[in-house]
């Protein structure tokens, strides 16, 4: 049982995954790296573009193989470090789902709308259940950051032109808004 647990330990799984990926990359190197540029039949560089990747990936495969084998064959030797924190992984997965939503919607919905929705979900995920707490957390920081970024630091954040023009109107700015991206 202990040996099985050792095989399923995240350390071994990560090393095993890297071992497989590095071996696959070595096998399919010619498909993953374009052919070197040639001028009058001679290569333009002293080393082929695959040489350094071969060296690194071979070393990576060997080290991962050593690590995985030692973890499996010598379970009495302590290779595993620390005890790890007891975390709520369901929350972690949900957080990444929300972040993926945030990443995919920022340019589609605009910074403000996308941030407000995502921040509300994250605030709930962290334990906020009161609308009085969630709404200000979701609404105020995006507005402040948007104004600081676009008006003080003069950098652009993606925003729907309707919202951009509305903000420009509220701030009393005349003429073209800075960056109506949509």
């Amino acid at each position: 049982m202990d040996s099985l647990n050792r095989r399923l330990d995240p350390e071994v799984l990560v090393a095993g995954t890297l071992l497989i990926l590095s071996c696959l990359s070595i096998l399919f190197m010619s498909h993953l790296v374009a052919a070197p540029k040639v001028l009058f039949g001679r290569s333009l560089t002293a080393i082929a573009p695959t040489l350094f990747p071969y060296m690194i990936l071979s070393s990576l495969a060997v080290l991962n193989a050593i690590f995985v084998l030692r973890c499996i064959l010598r379970p009495e030797k302590i290779w595993l470090e620390g005890s790890g924190e007891s975390n709520d992984w369901k929350r972690g997965v949900l957080l990444f789902c929300v972040m993926l939503f945030y990443a995919l919607t920022m340019t589609v919905f605009g910074f403000f709308t996308s941030s407000a929705l995502s921040l509300a979900m994250i605030s709930m995920l962290v334990g906020n259940r009161s609308p009085v707490g969630i709404i200000p957390t979701a609404v105020v920081p995006p507005i402040l950051l948007y104004l600081v970024a676009t008006r003080v630091l003069a950098v652009s954040l993606p925003e729907l032109s309707e919202i951009e023009f509305f903000i420009a109107g509220v701030l009393g700015e005349t003429g073209q808004a800075e960056r109506p991206s949509q």
Binding site: T45, F96, G127
Partner: protein
């Protein structure tokens, strides 16, 4: 050189530089004071701001965040025994005992003074040593640069903590990631899988924010049901006689911290623990350590802050970041068009002096801001994660987006956040991966140039013309093994 120094002094005294340094110090202390939020995370999410500022404003701003964050981490360490940063772990030992005795004000004062002392000592030492080292490094050619980069990666693998095989795996994984994009020598595409967005390689900024900030935030979310402790700053202020009593300890710890800072990979945690141990061994009353000894706080804080300056020596002279924080600083330098390395001193000597002098000025500002604002920051210890976490995530996303205005960078941010979290769960250190990613391309470039110089006879070339490179390559495994043994004995003790 004197002329460059004077130009640098004038640059560092600019009002906007000083103003942004104050903002950085304040921001760093603010984040450092929040338990669970680290200096590294603060630097990662505030890094994009520096891109839109002048180099002599943006980089001192980040250095302010760094300095403020390291001290800020000691506030929750002292008040509620929860180190805000890893560097403050040793501060917790005596700092929290002083709080329990009703002397938290005194503990925070000595933490501030000794932090400023350690920082100033190390910054002056950095200014004195960096130019002679740079002059030496200017003599290096591609073979020597390749050998030194290899040596640095071995040192990082051994000193970054944990199993060196795992660190080496992460370094190689980082180098592998650096292959994605265009080959630095021939300009051919590698590992892009036909994706246009990957042609220019993996962007450094989303990667830095992803691996350093996102896993920190995720771990806060995953254990966020902890109750918030009450914190209060009470008791007398630090007296002059107590400060005099700690002076020798602060000097000793500053020397230890500055020495550790030069070696890539060791960092503040090792420095603080070694400074604390040295103070305890040298004390006439070692039995008081761990029971609220003010010298214990001074030792840990001087040592961990003294690391800050010398970590810039390998970064600025060779382009080798010594730790996570200097990896972020490297990102800032590169984005500003200042490529750290020997050429930096030839092309931008005055700017480098300006940045180094700004670090010393930042320490004086740090003392004033810290003295006035400690009671305010101590209240932050009790702010709820439900408010902080969403705001920090928003900063991370906005920061990752603004540099290139490319939504692909947001996906990279999430992807690297996931890689960071998985690596953490598997207890793989992410710092070597970032080092491999940063140092991989210059290493391959130096290797390619060396092979071109060797003209199909590398062995003969090295042994007849580049004996220095052979020497560095020969001592690399020896240094690696010696350091590994030393690290093992330190961690066991």
């Amino acid at each position: 050189m004197i002329e460059q120094f004077l130009q640098g002094l004038a640059m560092a005294m600019r009002p906007d530089t000083i103003l942004w340094m104050c903002a950085g110090l304040f921001g760093g202390m603010l984040v450092g004071a929040l338990p669970g939020f680290t200096t590294l995370m603060a630097m990662a999410i505030l890094l994009p701001i520096s891109f839109f500022l002048d180099p002599l404003v943006g980089i001192p701003f980040l250095l302010g965040v760094y300095k403020g964050g390291i001290f800020g981490g000691s506030i929750p360490a002292i008040l509620v025994s929860m180190p805000g940063t890893g560097a403050a772990v040793a501060t917790t030992i005596d700092g929290y005992q002083l709080t329990k005795k009703g002397q938290s004000r005194k503990a925070l004062d000595i933490a501030l003074v000794s932090s400023v002392f350690g920082d100033t000592f190390s910054d002056i030492a950095t200014i004195l040593m960096i130019f002679p080292i740079a002059l030496l490094v200017m003599q290096f050619g591609p073979p020597e640069i390749f050998a030194v980069l290899l040596l640095s990666l071995v040192v990082i693998a051994v000193t970054s903590g944990g199993n060196p095989i795992k660190s080496l795996i992460m370094i190689l994984f980082g180098i592998w990631l650096s292959f994605i994009g265009t080959d630095p020598l021939g300009g051919v595409e590698r590992f892009t899988f036909g994706l246009f967005d990957l042609k220019s390689g993996i962007p450094l900024l989303p990667m830095l924010i992803g691996v350093f900030a996102i896993p920190e935030i995720a771990s806060v979310v995953m254990r966020s049901n902890q109750g918030q402790a009450l914190a209060a700053v009470v008791g007398e202020r630090l007296s002059w006689s107590e400060l005099k009593r700690c002076f020798r300890t602060m000097c000793r710890s500053s020397v230890i911290g500055a020495s550790i800072g030069i070696v890539p990979g060791l960092g503040q945690v090792v420095a603080a623990m070694m400074g604390y141990s040295a103070a305890k061994n040298a004390s006439k009353t070692p039995e008081n350590f761990g029971k609220g000894e003010i010298e214990g706080v001074a030792a840990a804080e001087s040592a961990n802050n003294a690391v800050n300056g010398p970590t810039l020596v390998p970064l600025l002279t060779l382009g080798i970041p010594g730790d996570n924080v200097t990896a972020i600083l490297l990102g800032a330098f590169v984005a500003q068009g200042l490529r750290p390395g020997p050429q930096l001193f030839e092309e931008h000597g005055a700017t480098v002096f300006g940045i180094l002098i700004a670090m010393v000025i930042a320490n004086l500002l740090f003392l004033v801001i810290g003295y006035l604002s400690v009671p305010f920051f101590s209240r932050l210890v009790t702010i709820k994660n439900a408010v902080l976490v969403p705001v920090v995530i928003m900063f991370a996303f906005a920061g990752a987006y603004v540099f290139r205005s490319d939504s692909f960078d947001l996906l990279m941010l999430v992807a690297f956040g996931a890689i960071g979290l998985i690596a953490r769960a598997a207890r793989f250190n992410l710092m070597p991966m970032v080092m491999g990613f940063i140092l991989g391309p210059p290493m391959e470039y130096a290797f390619g140039q060396t092979m071109a110089m060797a003209q199909n006879a590398p062995i003969q070339f090295l042994f007849t013309e580049r004996i220095g490179m052979v020497g560095v390559l020969a001592i690399t495994p020896v240094i690696g093994i010696l350091l590994w043994r030393r690290m093992r004995s330190v961690s066991m003790s």
